[in-house]
Point group: C2
Chain length 154, copies 2
DNA sequence: TTTTATGCAAAGTATTTGCACGGGA
DNA sequence: TCCCGTGCAAATACTTTGCATAAAA
């Protein structure tokens, strides 16, 4: 089983702006600020986190605009919502292709890894035949403490 | 890889009441109603679902009591919150031991399966060595459509 | 110029807390 | 009897909507 671990693809904000524009959305200063903040982060960010960080770039920003921009970025598949035991309001830049998540529960750092796809498919087929379910989607996520947090810990 | 699929352990409500009492909580009519409703269901239930179902058994029930009872049952490990793409407010009777979830996205039916533990452990070890994370927990969930919903579908 | 995007304020939704009363042990 | 648990009402937190103005194209 192979499982290369990849950090989030940081710095793709320019491509997101192009993508937004290609879908008929306008490029505005508030959107640029929100896009930059999310696309430059390797950490999970809540709408409020994004709001606070992006206000440093564009002080007139409203929280409502963060919600509306996040909604569009999610529709376009540029960011994804991440579910954790501690909550489900946080977002991260999406990795293209199906990836599994490795999440630091201290700092919210996220990395992606690809489990052996064949193994997952075998499991899904087996569960499907035992249960009669048609399986449409799967989540595989690991939670832990990242290297930096482990070093900082004590 | 083995993956026996097990329906939720229905009908254990009496044991939950004993457990509550053993932890110093009183057995009251509202608690009995909530416990019965959840323990008899194979489906995900939100606090509001529980409220509506349990009111049939105890009409004076308040929604607040549902929240407070659910909180205690979760603390005791008798129920668990289930995260889905469509939301994370629903609960199901917990299976003892670590189990993975198979969830019907139409009706909320939940079954448990145990993926090959060795495979998950191997993956976790590999991801840990590549990433430097200390891995503490994992989620493996399959989403699909159960047999009954597939038959009802058209 | 046209139409979308914005921020504010208000409205929703989900959940938690304060409190006086009622019921379990 | 004692004190925990309850329901109601209010408070809180999070998110969405309505609307007049501002800005992109």
């Amino acid at each position: 089983m192979t499982s290369p671990v990849k950090p989030t693809a940081v710095g793709n904000g320019q491509a997101w702006l192009v993508n937004l524009q290609a879908h008929g959305y306008r490029l505005t200063a508030p959107r640029r600020a929100v896009v930059e903040v999310i696309s430059l982060s390797q950490h999970l960010l809540t709408p409020l986190d994004i709001f606070e960080l992006a206000r440093a770039r564009y002080p007139r920003l409203g929280l409502v605009t963060v919600y509306r921009t996040v909604e569009k970025l999610e529709e376009l598949g540029l960011i994804q919502r991440v579910h954790q035991p501690s909550g489900c309001q946080a977002f991260i830049a999406a990795f293209s292709g199906h990836q599994h998540l490795l999440i630091c529960q201290r700092c919210g750092r996220v990395e992606f890894f690809s489990g052996d796809q064949a193994t997952i498919n075998t499991l899904a087929a087996e569960v499907s035949s035992h249960s009669g379910y048609a399986i449409e989607e799967h989540w595989l996520q690991l939670f832990g403490t990242c290297l930096i947090c482990r070093e900082t810990e004590r």
